[in-house]
Protein backbone atom coordinates (compact mmCIF):
# COMPACT_ATOMS: atom_id res chain seq x y z
CA UNK A 1 0.00 0.00 0.00
CA UNK A 2 1.28 3.43 -0.85
CA UNK A 3 1.49 5.47 2.30
CA UNK A 4 2.16 8.73 0.53
CA UNK A 5 3.82 9.76 -2.67
CA UNK A 6 6.42 11.74 -0.74
CA UNK A 7 7.63 8.80 1.28
CA UNK A 8 9.55 5.79 0.13
CA UNK A 9 8.99 2.56 1.99
CA UNK A 10 12.46 2.55 3.52
CA UNK A 11 12.05 6.11 4.81
CA UNK A 12 8.70 5.24 6.35
CA UNK A 13 10.21 2.21 8.08
CA UNK A 14 13.07 4.31 9.43
CA UNK A 15 10.68 7.01 10.70
CA UNK A 16 8.56 4.32 12.35
CA UNK A 17 11.67 2.83 13.93
CA UNK A 18 12.61 6.20 15.38
CA UNK A 19 9.06 6.69 16.66
CA UNK A 20 9.03 3.29 18.37
CA UNK A 21 12.44 3.96 19.93
CA UNK A 22 11.18 7.31 21.24
CA UNK A 23 8.20 5.58 22.83
CA UNK A 24 10.47 2.95 24.38
CA UNK A 25 12.79 5.65 25.74
CA UNK A 26 9.82 7.56 27.18
CA UNK A 27 8.56 4.43 28.95
CA UNK A 28 12.05 3.80 30.32
CA UNK A 29 12.19 7.28 31.86
CA UNK A 30 8.59 6.83 33.04
CA UNK A 31 9.66 3.65 34.81
CA UNK A 32 12.36 5.58 36.66
CA UNK A 33 9.82 8.24 37.70
CA UNK A 34 7.40 5.59 39.01
CA UNK A 35 10.26 3.97 40.90
CA UNK A 36 11.47 7.25 42.42
CA UNK A 37 7.91 8.16 43.43
CA UNK A 38 7.84 4.91 45.37
CA UNK A 39 5.18 3.00 43.46
CA UNK A 40 5.39 -0.60 42.27
CA UNK A 41 6.59 -0.53 38.67
CA UNK A 42 5.16 -3.95 37.85
CA UNK A 43 1.75 -3.10 39.38
CA UNK A 44 1.56 0.16 37.43
CA UNK A 45 2.45 -1.38 34.09
CA UNK A 46 0.31 -4.49 34.54
CA UNK A 47 -2.70 -2.32 35.38
CA UNK A 48 -1.90 0.04 32.52
CA UNK A 49 -1.97 -2.94 30.16
CA UNK A 50 -5.06 -4.46 31.80
CA UNK A 51 -7.00 -1.20 31.52
CA UNK A 52 -6.03 -0.66 27.91
CA UNK A 53 -6.06 -4.11 26.32
CA UNK A 54 -7.05 -6.70 28.96
CA UNK A 55 -10.36 -7.96 27.62
CA UNK A 56 -13.24 -6.71 25.53
CA UNK A 57 -14.32 -3.96 27.93
CA UNK A 58 -10.79 -2.58 28.16
CA UNK A 59 -10.30 -2.58 24.41
CA UNK A 60 -13.68 -0.89 24.08
CA UNK A 61 -12.54 1.81 26.51
CA UNK A 62 -9.34 2.32 24.52
CA UNK A 63 -11.24 2.59 21.23
CA UNK A 64 -13.86 4.93 22.71
CA UNK A 65 -11.17 7.24 24.10
CA UNK A 66 -9.20 7.08 20.86
CA UNK A 67 -12.16 8.12 18.69
CA UNK A 68 -12.16 11.86 19.47
CA UNK A 69 -8.34 11.88 19.65
CA UNK A 70 -8.12 10.59 16.06
CA UNK A 71 -10.07 13.66 14.95
CA UNK A 72 -8.25 16.16 17.16
CA UNK A 73 -4.94 14.69 15.95
CA UNK A 74 -6.09 15.27 12.37
CA UNK A 75 -7.06 18.78 13.42
CA UNK A 76 -3.56 19.50 14.70
CA UNK A 77 -1.76 17.91 11.79
CA UNK A 78 -3.73 19.52 8.96
CA UNK A 79 -2.80 22.95 10.33
CA UNK A 80 0.75 21.76 10.99
CA UNK A 81 1.07 20.67 7.35
CA UNK A 82 0.31 24.28 6.41
CA UNK A 83 2.99 25.51 8.82
CA UNK A 84 0.51 26.55 11.53
CA UNK A 85 0.01 25.48 15.13
CA UNK A 86 -3.56 24.78 16.09
CA UNK A 87 -3.38 24.32 19.83
CA UNK A 88 -7.02 25.28 20.27
CA UNK A 89 -8.65 22.01 19.22
CA UNK A 90 -10.06 21.73 22.74
CA UNK A 91 -12.19 24.85 22.30
CA UNK A 92 -13.17 24.11 18.70
CA UNK A 93 -14.31 20.71 19.95
CA UNK A 94 -16.52 22.30 22.62
CA UNK A 95 -18.14 24.66 20.13
CA UNK A 96 -18.74 21.79 17.69
CA UNK A 97 -20.15 19.60 20.44
CA UNK A 98 -22.54 22.34 21.50
CA UNK A 99 -23.82 22.88 17.95
CA UNK A 100 -24.31 19.15 17.46
CA UNK A 101 -26.15 18.86 20.77
CA UNK A 102 -28.49 21.76 19.95
CA UNK A 103 -29.20 20.35 16.48
CA UNK A 104 -29.74 16.92 18.01
CA UNK A 105 -32.04 18.07 20.78
CA UNK A 106 -34.17 20.72 19.11
CA UNK A 107 -34.52 19.57 15.47
CA UNK A 108 -37.00 16.90 14.41
CA UNK A 109 -35.68 15.01 11.38
CA UNK A 110 -35.78 11.48 9.95
CA UNK A 111 -33.32 8.99 11.25
CA UNK A 112 -30.14 9.07 9.10
CA UNK A 113 -30.58 12.65 7.97
CA UNK A 114 -30.71 13.91 11.55
CA UNK A 115 -27.29 12.47 12.41
CA UNK A 116 -25.81 13.94 9.24
CA UNK A 117 -27.30 17.35 10.00
CA UNK A 118 -25.91 17.22 13.55
CA UNK A 119 -22.43 16.26 12.33
CA UNK A 120 -22.54 19.03 9.75
CA UNK A 121 -23.66 21.56 12.35
CA UNK A 122 -20.88 20.48 14.73
CA UNK A 123 -18.26 20.48 12.01
CA UNK A 124 -19.25 23.91 10.71
CA UNK A 125 -19.41 25.44 14.19
CA UNK A 126 -15.91 24.10 14.90
CA UNK A 127 -14.77 25.39 11.51
CA UNK A 128 -16.05 28.84 12.44
CA UNK A 129 -14.07 28.73 15.68
CA UNK A 130 -10.98 27.80 13.63
CA UNK A 131 -11.72 30.40 10.97
CA UNK A 132 -11.39 33.26 13.51
CA UNK A 133 -7.70 32.67 14.30
CA UNK A 134 -7.12 31.86 10.62
CA UNK A 135 -8.59 35.18 9.59
CA UNK A 136 -6.66 37.05 12.29
CA UNK A 137 -3.43 35.34 11.21
CA UNK A 138 -3.97 36.18 7.54
CA UNK A 139 -5.26 39.74 7.93
CA UNK A 140 -3.67 41.00 11.12
CA UNK A 141 -0.66 38.74 11.58
CA UNK A 142 -1.86 37.48 14.97
CA UNK A 143 0.15 34.52 16.32
CA UNK A 144 -2.13 31.56 15.79
CA UNK A 145 -0.76 29.63 18.75
CA UNK A 146 -1.69 32.44 21.08
CA UNK A 147 -5.11 33.13 19.53
CA UNK A 148 -6.20 29.47 19.22
CA UNK A 149 -5.23 28.92 22.85
CA UNK A 150 -7.07 32.05 24.04
CA UNK A 151 -10.17 31.16 22.02
CA UNK A 152 -10.14 27.74 23.64
CA UNK A 153 -10.64 29.32 27.04
CA UNK A 154 -13.39 31.50 25.58
CA UNK A 155 -15.16 28.47 24.07
CA UNK A 156 -15.00 26.45 27.27
CA UNK A 157 -16.30 29.38 29.34
CA UNK A 158 -19.02 30.25 26.84
CA UNK A 159 -20.41 26.71 26.51
CA UNK A 160 -20.20 26.34 30.27
CA UNK A 161 -22.32 29.47 30.63
CA UNK A 162 -24.94 28.15 28.17
CA UNK A 163 -25.56 25.00 30.21
CA UNK A 164 -25.07 26.46 33.70
CA UNK A 165 -28.17 26.45 35.97
CA UNK A 166 -29.33 29.89 34.84
CA UNK A 167 -28.04 29.55 31.27
CA UNK A 168 -30.37 29.37 28.25
CA UNK A 169 -29.66 25.72 27.35
CA UNK A 170 -29.63 24.19 30.81
CA UNK A 171 -31.67 21.02 31.36
CA UNK A 172 -33.88 22.00 34.29
CA UNK A 173 -34.53 18.39 35.28
CA UNK A 174 -31.01 18.02 36.66
CA UNK A 175 -28.62 20.20 38.63
CA UNK A 176 -25.67 19.26 36.42
CA UNK A 177 -24.35 21.62 33.76
CA UNK A 178 -25.84 19.94 30.71
CA UNK A 179 -28.33 20.31 27.86
CA UNK A 180 -31.39 18.14 27.39
CA UNK A 181 -30.92 14.75 25.75
CA UNK A 182 -30.66 14.57 21.97
CA UNK A 183 -33.50 12.93 20.00
CA UNK A 184 -33.13 9.16 19.36
CA UNK A 185 -32.90 9.89 15.64
CA UNK A 186 -29.72 11.91 16.22
CA UNK A 187 -27.84 9.16 18.08
CA UNK A 188 -24.74 7.60 16.54
CA UNK A 189 -25.41 3.91 17.36
CA UNK A 190 -23.08 1.86 19.54
CA UNK A 191 -21.17 -0.75 17.55
CA UNK A 192 -19.43 -2.81 20.21
CA UNK A 193 -21.89 -3.29 23.04
CA UNK A 194 -21.63 -3.16 26.03
CA UNK A 195 -18.71 -0.73 25.51
CA UNK A 196 -19.05 2.93 24.58
CA UNK A 197 -17.61 2.50 21.09
CA UNK A 198 -19.99 4.11 18.61
CA UNK A 199 -20.28 4.83 14.92
CA UNK A 200 -18.24 7.96 15.73
CA UNK A 201 -15.19 5.71 15.35
CA UNK A 202 -16.22 4.92 11.78
CA UNK A 203 -16.74 8.63 11.14
CA UNK A 204 -13.26 9.35 12.51
CA UNK A 205 -11.64 6.66 10.35
CA UNK A 206 -13.53 7.96 7.31
CA UNK A 207 -12.07 11.40 7.93
CA UNK A 208 -8.57 9.93 8.26
CA UNK A 209 -8.91 8.65 4.68
CA UNK A 210 -10.47 11.92 3.55
CA UNK A 211 -7.68 14.04 5.04
CA UNK A 212 -5.06 11.70 3.62
CA UNK A 213 -6.67 11.87 0.17
CA UNK A 214 -6.97 15.64 0.41
CA UNK A 215 -3.38 16.21 1.48
CA UNK A 216 -1.67 13.74 -0.85
CA UNK A 217 -3.97 13.25 -3.82
CA UNK A 218 -5.49 16.63 -4.60
CA UNK A 219 -3.90 19.84 -5.97
CA UNK A 220 -5.46 21.85 -3.13
CA UNK A 221 -3.85 19.59 -0.55
CA UNK A 222 -0.53 19.80 -2.35
CA UNK A 223 -0.75 23.58 -2.23
CA UNK A 224 -1.57 23.50 1.47
CA UNK A 225 1.47 21.34 2.18
CA UNK A 226 3.72 23.48 0.02
CA UNK A 227 2.82 26.52 2.13
CA UNK A 228 3.89 24.52 5.17
CA UNK A 229 7.17 23.46 3.56
CA UNK A 230 8.13 26.95 2.44
CA UNK A 231 5.81 29.94 2.36
CA UNK A 232 8.23 31.93 0.18
CA UNK A 233 8.47 29.23 -2.48
CA UNK A 234 4.70 28.71 -2.37
CA UNK A 235 4.25 32.44 -2.80
CA UNK A 236 6.50 32.47 -5.87
CA UNK A 237 4.53 29.50 -7.15
CA UNK A 238 1.43 31.66 -7.17
CA UNK A 239 -0.28 30.10 -4.15
CA UNK A 240 -2.31 32.54 -2.10
CA UNK A 241 -0.74 31.85 1.28
CA UNK A 242 -3.18 33.87 3.35
CA UNK A 243 -6.15 32.00 1.94
CA UNK A 244 -4.41 28.74 2.74
CA UNK A 245 -3.87 29.87 6.33
CA UNK A 246 -7.56 30.62 6.72
CA UNK A 247 -8.53 27.37 5.03
CA UNK A 248 -6.13 25.22 7.06
CA UNK A 249 -7.30 26.58 10.41
CA UNK A 250 -10.96 26.33 9.35
CA UNK A 251 -10.42 22.69 8.37
CA UNK A 252 -8.62 22.11 11.66
CA UNK A 253 -11.61 23.58 13.47
CA UNK A 254 -13.97 21.44 11.41
CA UNK A 255 -12.16 18.24 12.40
CA UNK A 256 -12.06 19.24 16.07
CA UNK A 257 -15.74 20.18 15.90
CA UNK A 258 -16.48 16.70 14.56
CA UNK A 259 -14.57 15.20 17.48
CA UNK A 260 -16.90 17.02 19.87
CA UNK A 261 -19.97 16.09 17.82
CA UNK A 262 -18.98 12.43 17.98
CA UNK A 263 -18.72 12.64 21.78
CA UNK A 264 -22.20 14.19 22.02
CA UNK A 265 -23.96 11.99 19.45
CA UNK A 266 -22.21 8.73 20.29
CA UNK A 267 -21.13 8.82 23.93
CA UNK A 268 -22.91 11.34 26.18
CA UNK A 269 -26.10 11.89 24.08
CA UNK A 270 -26.16 15.49 25.35
CA UNK A 271 -23.74 18.35 25.84
CA UNK A 272 -22.17 18.24 29.28
CA UNK A 273 -20.20 21.27 30.49
CA UNK A 274 -16.45 20.54 30.52
CA UNK A 275 -17.05 16.99 29.25
CA UNK A 276 -13.59 16.63 27.73
CA UNK A 277 -10.75 15.23 29.83
CA UNK A 278 -8.40 16.97 27.41
CA UNK A 279 -8.96 15.28 24.04
CA UNK A 280 -7.99 18.52 22.31
CA UNK A 281 -4.58 18.58 24.00
CA UNK A 282 -4.19 14.85 23.30
CA UNK A 283 -4.65 15.71 19.64
CA UNK A 284 -1.53 17.89 19.73
CA UNK A 285 0.37 14.92 21.13
CA UNK A 286 -1.29 12.57 18.64
CA UNK A 287 -0.49 14.78 15.66
CA UNK A 288 3.14 15.08 16.73
CA UNK A 289 3.54 11.36 17.42
CA UNK A 290 1.98 10.61 14.02
CA UNK A 291 4.67 12.86 12.53
CA UNK A 292 1.76 14.79 11.07
CA UNK A 293 0.70 11.90 8.83
CA UNK A 294 -3.07 11.13 8.74
CA UNK A 295 -2.64 7.35 8.74
CA UNK A 296 -0.20 7.63 11.62
CA UNK A 297 -2.85 9.57 13.51
CA UNK A 298 -4.84 6.35 13.96
CA UNK A 299 -1.97 4.67 15.77
CA UNK A 300 -0.99 7.76 17.71
CA UNK A 301 -4.59 8.20 18.86
CA UNK A 302 -4.73 4.53 19.85
CA UNK A 303 -1.64 5.07 21.99
CA UNK A 304 -3.19 8.17 23.63
CA UNK A 305 -6.52 6.34 24.10
CA UNK A 306 -4.76 3.30 25.56
CA UNK A 307 -2.86 5.52 27.99
CA UNK A 308 -6.12 7.19 29.06
CA UNK A 309 -7.96 3.88 29.48
CA UNK A 310 -4.94 2.29 31.19
CA UNK A 311 -4.48 5.31 33.43
CA UNK A 312 -8.04 4.91 34.71
CA UNK A 313 -7.33 1.30 35.65
CA UNK A 314 -4.07 2.30 37.39
CA UNK A 315 -6.11 4.81 39.42
CA UNK A 316 -8.83 2.24 40.29
CA UNK A 317 -6.31 -0.38 41.33
CA UNK A 318 -4.57 2.08 43.66
CA UNK A 319 -1.16 1.16 42.24
CA UNK A 320 -0.39 4.85 41.57
CA UNK A 321 -2.26 8.02 40.55
CA UNK A 322 -3.76 7.49 37.11
CA UNK A 323 -2.07 10.65 35.92
CA UNK A 324 1.11 8.67 35.47
CA UNK A 325 -0.41 8.08 32.02
CA UNK A 326 -0.28 11.82 31.37
CA UNK A 327 3.37 11.88 32.42
CA UNK A 328 4.14 9.02 30.02
CA UNK A 329 2.30 10.88 27.28
CA UNK A 330 4.38 14.01 27.91
CA UNK A 331 7.61 12.01 27.84
CA UNK A 332 6.68 10.29 24.58
CA UNK A 333 6.11 13.66 22.92
CA UNK A 334 9.34 15.01 24.27
CA UNK A 335 11.40 12.25 22.72
CA UNK A 336 9.42 12.16 19.48
CA UNK A 337 9.91 15.84 18.73
CA UNK A 338 13.67 15.59 18.76
CA UNK A 339 14.36 13.07 15.99
CA UNK A 340 18.03 13.96 15.96
CA UNK A 341 18.21 12.88 19.60
CA UNK A 342 17.36 9.28 18.71
CA UNK A 343 19.64 9.41 15.66
CA UNK A 344 22.51 10.65 17.84
CA UNK A 345 21.90 7.84 20.30
CA UNK A 346 21.91 5.25 17.50
CA UNK A 347 25.12 6.66 16.06
CA UNK A 348 26.82 6.56 19.47
CA UNK A 349 25.91 2.88 19.81
CA UNK A 350 27.43 2.07 16.43
CA UNK A 351 30.69 3.79 17.21
Amino acid sequence: MAIGPMFKRSVVLKEMGITLLSIALAFAIGTIIIWIAGFSVSAVFSNLWKGAFGGKLAIGQTLAKSTPIILTSLSFLIAFRCGLFNIGAEGQMYIGAMAAAVAGAYLRLPIVLHVLVCLTAGGLAGAFWGWIPGYLKAKRGVNEFVSTMMLSYVAIGFTDYLVAPRGPLHDDKYWANQTIRIAPSAVLPRILRPTQVSMALIVALFFVLLVWYYLYRTPAGYELRSVGLSPTVADYGGIRIKRKYILALSLAGLLAGLAGSGEVLGTHLRFIGRFSPGYGWDGIAGGLIARAHPIGAIFAALLMGALRAGGMQVQRSGAAPGDIAAVLQGLVIFFIIAPTLIRTLIRRRRR
Binding site: I33, A37, F39, F85, I87, I132, P133, L136, R140, G141, V142, N143, F145, V146, S147, M149, M150, L151, Y153, V154, I156, G157, F158, D160, Y161, A164, R166, G167, W281, I284, A285, L288, A320, P321, D323, I324, A325, A326, V327, L328, Q329, G330, L331, I333, F334, I337, A338, P339, T340, L341, T344
Partner: protein
Protein backbone atom coordinates in the same frame (compact mmCIF):
# COMPACT_ATOMS: atom_id res chain seq x y z
CA UNK B 1 -22.64 55.77 37.88
CA UNK B 2 -22.77 54.03 41.23
CA UNK B 3 -21.78 50.79 39.58
CA UNK B 4 -18.77 52.50 38.03
CA UNK B 5 -17.81 53.82 41.47
CA UNK B 6 -18.04 50.30 42.81
CA UNK B 7 -15.79 48.98 40.07
CA UNK B 8 -13.12 51.65 39.83
CA UNK B 9 -11.53 51.78 43.25
CA UNK B 10 -8.04 51.87 44.68
CA UNK B 11 -8.45 48.15 45.09
CA UNK B 12 -8.70 47.87 41.30
CA UNK B 13 -5.40 49.72 40.86
CA UNK B 14 -3.66 47.47 43.35
CA UNK B 15 -5.08 44.31 41.76
CA UNK B 16 -3.93 45.56 38.38
CA UNK B 17 -0.36 45.91 39.65
CA UNK B 18 -0.57 42.55 41.35
CA UNK B 19 -2.04 40.65 38.39
CA UNK B 20 0.33 42.31 35.92
CA UNK B 21 3.42 41.03 37.76
CA UNK B 22 3.53 37.41 36.52
CA UNK B 23 2.49 38.44 33.01
CA UNK B 24 5.28 41.04 32.94
CA UNK B 25 7.86 38.50 34.18
CA UNK B 26 6.84 35.98 31.54
CA UNK B 27 6.79 38.65 28.83
CA UNK B 28 10.27 39.80 29.90
CA UNK B 29 11.58 36.23 29.77
CA UNK B 30 10.10 35.73 26.33
CA UNK B 31 11.63 39.03 25.22
CA UNK B 32 15.09 37.77 26.18
CA UNK B 33 14.74 34.39 24.48
CA UNK B 34 13.11 35.71 21.31
CA UNK B 35 15.75 38.45 21.09
CA UNK B 36 18.34 35.68 20.71
CA UNK B 37 16.10 33.80 18.29
CA UNK B 38 14.49 31.14 20.51
CA UNK B 39 10.68 31.00 20.57
CA UNK B 40 9.47 29.53 23.85
CA UNK B 41 5.79 28.58 24.01
CA UNK B 42 6.56 26.46 27.06
CA UNK B 43 6.47 29.54 29.31
CA UNK B 44 2.99 28.47 30.39
CA UNK B 45 4.22 25.07 31.55
CA UNK B 46 7.37 26.58 33.05
CA UNK B 47 5.26 28.89 35.22
CA UNK B 48 3.14 25.91 36.32
CA UNK B 49 6.37 24.10 37.19
CA UNK B 50 7.57 27.10 39.20
CA UNK B 51 4.33 27.12 41.18
CA UNK B 52 4.50 23.38 41.75
CA UNK B 53 8.10 23.46 42.93
CA UNK B 54 7.33 26.42 45.24
CA UNK B 55 4.49 24.46 46.79
CA UNK B 56 6.63 21.34 47.19
CA UNK B 57 9.55 23.18 48.81
CA UNK B 58 7.29 25.28 51.03
CA UNK B 59 5.42 22.15 52.11
CA UNK B 60 8.48 20.02 52.88
CA UNK B 61 10.75 22.68 54.39
CA UNK B 62 8.17 25.13 55.72
CA UNK B 63 10.45 27.91 54.46
CA UNK B 64 8.82 30.36 52.04
CA UNK B 65 12.17 31.94 51.06
CA UNK B 66 13.64 28.59 50.03
CA UNK B 67 10.52 28.03 47.95
CA UNK B 68 11.06 31.38 46.27
CA UNK B 69 14.63 30.40 45.33
CA UNK B 70 13.70 26.90 44.18
CA UNK B 71 11.06 27.97 41.67
CA UNK B 72 13.35 30.01 39.38
CA UNK B 73 15.95 27.22 39.58
CA UNK B 74 13.38 24.69 38.38
CA UNK B 75 12.26 27.13 35.71
CA UNK B 76 15.85 27.58 34.57
CA UNK B 77 16.19 23.82 34.32
CA UNK B 78 13.09 23.64 32.11
CA UNK B 79 14.46 26.53 30.03
CA UNK B 80 17.72 24.62 29.69
CA UNK B 81 15.83 21.57 28.52
CA UNK B 82 14.05 23.64 25.90
CA UNK B 83 17.37 25.13 24.82
CA UNK B 84 19.00 21.72 24.46
CA UNK B 85 16.05 20.48 22.45
CA UNK B 86 16.00 23.51 20.15
CA UNK B 87 19.74 24.03 19.75
CA UNK B 88 21.37 20.62 20.17
CA UNK B 89 18.61 18.42 18.77
CA UNK B 90 17.14 21.01 16.40
CA UNK B 91 13.56 20.43 17.48
CA UNK B 92 10.96 22.86 16.20
CA UNK B 93 10.81 25.62 18.83
CA UNK B 94 7.02 25.78 19.11
CA UNK B 95 6.72 22.00 19.21
CA UNK B 96 9.31 21.72 21.98
CA UNK B 97 7.46 24.39 23.97
CA UNK B 98 4.19 22.53 23.55
CA UNK B 99 6.03 19.42 24.74
CA UNK B 100 7.07 21.21 27.95
CA UNK B 101 3.49 22.37 28.52
CA UNK B 102 2.04 18.88 28.15
CA UNK B 103 4.78 17.20 30.18
CA UNK B 104 4.46 19.66 33.06
CA UNK B 105 0.65 19.40 33.01
CA UNK B 106 0.98 15.64 33.43
CA UNK B 107 3.67 15.93 36.11
CA UNK B 108 1.61 18.48 38.05
CA UNK B 109 -1.37 16.12 38.29
CA UNK B 110 0.81 13.11 39.08
CA UNK B 111 2.91 14.84 41.74
CA UNK B 112 -0.02 16.56 43.48
CA UNK B 113 -1.95 13.30 43.74
CA UNK B 114 1.17 11.43 44.90
CA UNK B 115 2.19 13.98 47.54
CA UNK B 116 -1.08 15.50 48.78
CA UNK B 117 -3.62 12.93 47.59
CA UNK B 118 -5.66 15.51 45.68
CA UNK B 119 -5.60 15.68 41.92
CA UNK B 120 -4.14 19.02 40.87
CA UNK B 121 -4.04 20.87 44.21
CA UNK B 122 -1.65 21.12 47.12
CA UNK B 123 -2.36 21.99 50.72
CA UNK B 124 -1.78 25.52 51.99
CA UNK B 125 1.84 26.25 52.81
CA UNK B 126 3.80 29.24 54.16
CA UNK B 127 4.01 32.13 51.72
CA UNK B 128 5.67 35.51 51.31
CA UNK B 129 4.17 38.89 50.72
CA UNK B 130 3.81 38.99 46.94
CA UNK B 131 4.67 42.68 46.80
CA UNK B 132 8.32 41.65 47.30
CA UNK B 133 8.13 39.83 43.97
CA UNK B 134 6.23 42.68 42.30
CA UNK B 135 8.85 45.25 43.34
CA UNK B 136 11.69 42.94 42.35
CA UNK B 137 10.00 42.43 38.97
CA UNK B 138 9.86 46.18 38.40
CA UNK B 139 13.56 46.57 39.18
CA UNK B 140 14.45 43.60 36.95
CA UNK B 141 12.44 45.01 34.06
CA UNK B 142 14.06 48.44 34.17
CA UNK B 143 17.51 46.89 34.56
CA UNK B 144 16.77 44.62 31.58
CA UNK B 145 15.77 47.58 29.44
CA UNK B 146 19.13 49.21 30.11
CA UNK B 147 20.95 45.91 29.72
CA UNK B 148 19.46 45.08 26.31
CA UNK B 149 19.75 48.51 24.73
CA UNK B 150 22.65 50.21 26.52
CA UNK B 151 25.32 47.58 27.18
CA UNK B 152 27.67 45.58 24.95
CA UNK B 153 26.18 42.31 26.21
CA UNK B 154 22.77 43.55 25.15
CA UNK B 155 24.09 44.41 21.71
CA UNK B 156 25.60 40.92 21.46
CA UNK B 157 22.37 39.21 22.37
CA UNK B 158 20.45 41.27 19.82
CA UNK B 159 22.96 40.43 17.08
CA UNK B 160 22.62 36.72 17.83
CA UNK B 161 18.90 36.96 17.14
CA UNK B 162 19.23 39.20 14.11
CA UNK B 163 22.26 37.84 12.29
CA UNK B 164 23.83 34.80 13.94
CA UNK B 165 26.39 34.44 11.12
CA UNK B 166 27.65 37.97 11.74
CA UNK B 167 27.72 37.36 15.49
CA UNK B 168 29.72 34.21 14.94
CA UNK B 169 32.22 36.01 12.71
CA UNK B 170 32.61 38.68 15.39
CA UNK B 171 33.58 35.97 17.86
CA UNK B 172 30.32 35.75 19.76
CA UNK B 173 29.41 32.20 20.73
CA UNK B 174 25.91 31.94 19.22
CA UNK B 175 24.89 28.70 20.87
CA UNK B 176 26.16 29.71 24.29
CA UNK B 177 24.33 33.06 24.09
CA UNK B 178 21.13 31.27 23.14
CA UNK B 179 21.50 28.80 26.00
CA UNK B 180 22.05 31.60 28.52
CA UNK B 181 18.99 33.66 27.58
CA UNK B 182 16.66 30.69 27.11
CA UNK B 183 17.62 29.55 30.60
CA UNK B 184 17.06 33.11 31.82
CA UNK B 185 13.59 33.00 30.27
CA UNK B 186 12.93 29.82 32.27
CA UNK B 187 14.21 31.48 35.46
CA UNK B 188 11.83 34.42 35.02
CA UNK B 189 8.87 32.13 34.26
CA UNK B 190 9.74 30.08 37.32
CA UNK B 191 9.65 33.29 39.35
CA UNK B 192 6.24 34.06 37.83
CA UNK B 193 5.15 30.59 38.94
CA UNK B 194 6.38 31.35 42.47
CA UNK B 195 4.29 34.51 42.34
CA UNK B 196 1.16 32.51 41.50
CA UNK B 197 1.87 30.14 44.40
CA UNK B 198 2.48 32.98 46.87
CA UNK B 199 -0.61 34.89 45.84
CA UNK B 200 -2.93 31.88 46.29
CA UNK B 201 -1.09 30.20 49.15
CA UNK B 202 -1.16 26.80 47.52
CA UNK B 203 -0.66 25.18 44.15
CA UNK B 204 -3.57 24.43 41.83
CA UNK B 205 -3.01 23.04 38.36
CA UNK B 206 -5.22 25.69 36.76
CA UNK B 207 -3.74 28.72 38.50
CA UNK B 208 -1.59 29.87 35.59
CA UNK B 209 -4.62 29.37 33.32
CA UNK B 210 -3.24 30.65 30.03
CA UNK B 211 -1.32 33.59 31.50
CA UNK B 212 1.84 32.20 29.95
CA UNK B 213 0.26 32.71 26.56
CA UNK B 214 -0.99 36.13 27.61
CA UNK B 215 2.64 36.84 28.55
CA UNK B 216 3.67 35.98 24.99
CA UNK B 217 0.95 38.30 23.73
CA UNK B 218 2.31 41.04 26.02
CA UNK B 219 5.80 40.46 24.61
CA UNK B 220 4.46 40.85 21.06
CA UNK B 221 2.57 44.03 21.93
CA UNK B 222 5.53 45.33 23.91
CA UNK B 223 7.47 44.97 20.67
CA UNK B 224 10.42 43.03 22.08
CA UNK B 225 11.37 45.61 24.70
CA UNK B 226 11.15 45.03 28.47
CA UNK B 227 9.43 48.34 29.22
CA UNK B 228 6.99 47.77 26.36
CA UNK B 229 6.27 44.33 27.76
CA UNK B 230 5.61 45.92 31.14
CA UNK B 231 3.12 48.34 29.59
CA UNK B 232 1.26 45.53 27.83
CA UNK B 233 1.33 43.43 31.00
CA UNK B 234 -0.25 46.31 32.92
CA UNK B 235 -3.03 46.41 30.33
CA UNK B 236 -3.66 42.68 30.70
CA UNK B 237 -3.39 42.97 34.47
CA UNK B 238 -6.04 45.66 34.36
CA UNK B 239 -8.32 43.49 32.22
CA UNK B 240 -7.82 40.63 34.68
CA UNK B 241 -8.53 42.88 37.66
CA UNK B 242 -11.62 44.28 36.00
CA UNK B 243 -12.79 40.75 35.31
CA UNK B 244 -12.61 39.92 38.99
CA UNK B 245 -14.54 43.05 39.97
CA UNK B 246 -17.18 42.30 37.34
CA UNK B 247 -17.86 38.86 38.78
CA UNK B 248 -20.41 40.38 41.13
CA UNK B 249 -22.30 41.95 38.21
CA UNK B 250 -22.31 39.43 35.36
CA UNK B 251 -22.25 35.60 35.22
CA UNK B 252 -18.81 34.34 36.24
CA UNK B 253 -18.37 32.26 33.08
CA UNK B 254 -18.63 35.46 31.07
CA UNK B 255 -16.18 37.44 33.13
CA UNK B 256 -13.73 34.53 33.30
CA UNK B 257 -13.47 34.39 29.51
CA UNK B 258 -13.13 38.17 29.19
CA UNK B 259 -9.30 38.39 29.53
CA UNK B 260 -8.82 35.70 26.87
CA UNK B 261 -11.24 37.35 24.47
CA UNK B 262 -9.69 40.78 25.02
CA UNK B 263 -6.19 39.36 24.51
CA UNK B 264 -7.22 38.21 21.05
CA UNK B 265 -8.87 41.56 20.33
CA UNK B 266 -5.87 43.57 21.54
CA UNK B 267 -3.56 41.45 19.36
CA UNK B 268 -5.87 41.94 16.40
CA UNK B 269 -6.14 45.70 16.69
CA UNK B 270 -2.66 46.51 17.84
CA UNK B 271 -0.58 48.20 15.16
CA UNK B 272 2.46 46.16 14.35
CA UNK B 273 5.93 47.60 14.27
CA UNK B 274 8.64 45.42 12.87
CA UNK B 275 11.08 44.48 15.61
CA UNK B 276 10.79 40.75 15.05
CA UNK B 277 14.33 39.29 15.26
CA UNK B 278 15.34 38.08 11.80
CA UNK B 279 16.64 34.70 12.95
CA UNK B 280 13.64 33.95 15.19
CA UNK B 281 12.85 30.24 15.29
CA UNK B 282 15.69 29.33 12.93
CA UNK B 283 18.36 26.81 13.78
CA UNK B 284 21.91 28.03 13.48
CA UNK B 285 24.32 25.52 12.02
CA UNK B 286 27.91 26.60 12.32
CA UNK B 287 29.74 26.44 9.00
Amino acid sequence: MDILKDIFTLHLVLSTLRLATPIALIALGETFSERVGIIHVGVEGTAVLGGLVSALVAYFTGNAWLALIAAPLAGGLAGGLHAVWCIRFRANHVVSGIGINILVAGLALFITSSVWGWRGTSTYAPTLNIWYISCAALVIIIASQIFIFRTKWGLRLRVVGEKPEAADTAGINVHRTRYIYTILNGVLCGLAGAFFFNSVGRFTSGMVGGRGFIGIAAMVIGNYSPVGALGAALLFGFIDALQMRLQSFIPSQFSIMLPYLLTVLVLAFFIRRANVPAALGKHYIKQ
